[in-house]
Symmetry: C2
Subunit: 356 residues, 2 copies
């Protein structure tokens, strides 16, 4: 009996999670689901975005299925109490160092992209973002009086970017192994021309590459990667990078597909435990209206079955069902198209259940 | 007599600079031009990408007109000798803290964009990137043995991100003042949800905004900005951000226009001295073939006339001439279009001279 922690969160989180749970129920799997509050919802109930009981549930589970967190109304809270801290806390506590962010253009949605159709038709790239290191967690950080720089004596704020050799090695292995199952090409994105951290990143990735002679490796500066994603996204296969650059590039790539409401993500640790969540946010502006697209969450549940529950057949069934409802012309408002039926969150979930 | 340091650099730098100099000559301005080697070209001659004499010439000039630097063949040099160090050295020595990167979609080139024409037609946004602070120059940086983090005892590399109050204040003033001359809207891009440096950035920009009640200010996270540039770039007017995020977003925005071969940039210090350069790189793959687009360099010369030489009339003449040659259908290979004549670097320069 595999254990799953279900954390719906804020905004559209509960609505889209409800649909994913319906789909999981329809599969009648031997899984035990336990739900807990997270983000703003947890702050309202317990005064903290990641209460001890929620964290413990996640630690005790094989996988976490996560909705979304955040709302404008928490913007004025001190940082440690804001909803996003829950997600950073979970990543750190579970050691979820490997973030998989597929950027796929679903064939029936090619026209939803901002890009010209010929640039995105058939697009299928995998961004692998390191998720527990870099400037996200580096110490020291804070405010102080500057002792050097342009304005000694002035108030300043600072953060520390850092990567250690084993942190880079393990994410590089993840990238090369993923590429082996795909088109055998890894692009490592750095800023080695400016940053010590990313010169080291480039050096270590190059060393690890020696163990994968069957996979091609190239290196690209982050500014150039931001351009090449726009110019010719299909030239990428697996793109691997650090936490901060990965945050920016994975969102850029997701939006390029036009399918951001469709894109799942997985964040794994060394033991195969994972957190699965849609690539989009909590969208408080449309929460409760029944218009959100549940497919990214449903596809995140499929990724969960594949990576943490060793049930690739169930994952395939969900993915095929999603493909079928799209082929049948069903669309939520975010991917609405002329001639296709615009359906609600619940109708979309029901259609996937029917197709599964 | 205004003094201009001309630094052609590497790759296509000398070719595109030659065309810009022809255009300046045609205007018969009271300027004194002095040329010096920079980047790989300077390394070959003097063993350093920014020789003392080149730096001194730049410091003694009212403006620097810069081509481009860099070539794969210098990738194995130690970092301090690589061509890009020249540009970092010039920014630091001249205190060029304010980088102006317009992202404009030239009307006749709308179809050259990766984006659908309706998303970019008429696009005119101004990215203002802080250029002398942030993780580019923060100390300490280097390699060491980790004392904490995930792998204490492991080898690690690190850098320091930092911004002081006066650094943020002065770039915020630049942004609000620029917005006053445009559509009166500033978007400040940060990562305040994760970084101390950018929470401080957000706080200080908000404080400075109190002096500009006629300008609207909004704040956006960098990952969201990377998405919104793809989704709806025309919603931006002035976007202001730090050095690292600005590096990524300004290149993404430039590529979105489809006109990257057309986009100039200016980097100014507090005394109005400036460095002017095309937004594109040195393109060693096409160097010497006479196919590079000289228009970004020619338009950089126009920016130089406007911002550092107080000659807006001459700047207007150059910009009008560039508009005229595009309207006449002339195109270099990078912006080639069906039905338009593809011309060489020199022919494009000659056409601008004729139109000026
Ligand atoms: C909410 C925020 C802390 C988070 C991040 O920056 O990692 C988010 O943008 C993401 O990509 O999951
Ligand atoms: C060459 C490099 C150091 C530089 C930078 O990162 O600033 C370049 O990318 C730029 O944007 O001018």
């Amino acid at each position: 009996m595999k254990k799953i922690a279900v954390l719906p969160g804020d905004g559209i989180g509960p609505e889209i999670m409800a649909e994913a749970l319906k789909v999981l129920a329809a599969l009648e799997l031997p899984i035990e689901l336990k739900q807990a509050p997270v983000g703003g919802a947890a702050y309202e109930l317990h005064g903290h975005p990641l209460p001890e009981a929620t964290l413990q549930l996640a630690l005790d589970s094989d996988a976490v299925l996560f909705g979304a967190v955040g709302d404008w109304k928490y913007d004025t809270l001190e940082r440690r109490l804001r909803p996003e801290q829950a997600i950073l806390g979970l990543r750190k506590a579970l050691g979820l160092f490997a973030n998989f962010r597929p950027a796929i253009c679903h064939a029936p949605l090619t026209d939803a992209s901002s890009l010209k159709p010929e640039l995105v038709a058939g697009l299928d790239i995998l961004i692998i973002r390191e998720l527990t290191g870099d400037i996200y967690f580096g110490q020291p950080r804070g405010r102080r009086t500057a002792v050097d720089g342009h304005f000694p004596g002035a108030e300043e704020a600072f953060d520390t970017m850092r990567y250690s050799r084993p942190e880079i090695e393990r994410i590089a292995h993840v990238a090369f192994q993923a590429a082996r199952k795909r088109n055998k090409k890894v692009t490592s994105v750095d800023k080695a021309n400016v940053l010590e951290t990313f010169q080291f990143w480039k050096d270590v990735v190059t060393e690890v590459h020696a163990q994968y002679p069957d996979v091609a490796l190239d290196h690209m500066y982050v500014d150039n990667a931001a351009m090449q994603l726009v110019k010719a996204p299909k030239k990428f296969d697996v793109l691997v990078t650090g936490n901060m650059f990965g945050d920016i590039l994975s969102d850029e790539a997701a939006m390029l597909t036009g399918s951001i409401g469709m894109l799942p993500s997985a964040s794994l640790n060394e033991r195969g435990q994972g957190l699965y969540e849609p690539s989009h946010g909590s969208a408080p502006d449309i929460a409760g209206k029944g218009v959100a697209n549940p497919l990214a969450t449903i596809l995140s549940a499929a990724m969960m079955l594949r990576y943490s529950l060793q049930n690739p057949d169930a994952a395939d069934r969900i993915e095929a069902a999603v493909g079928a409802v799209l082929d049948a012309g069903l669309r939520t408002a975010d991917i609405a198209a002329a001639g296709a039926a615009t359906v609600s969150t619940r109708e979309m979930g029901d259609a996937v259940v029917a197709a599964v």
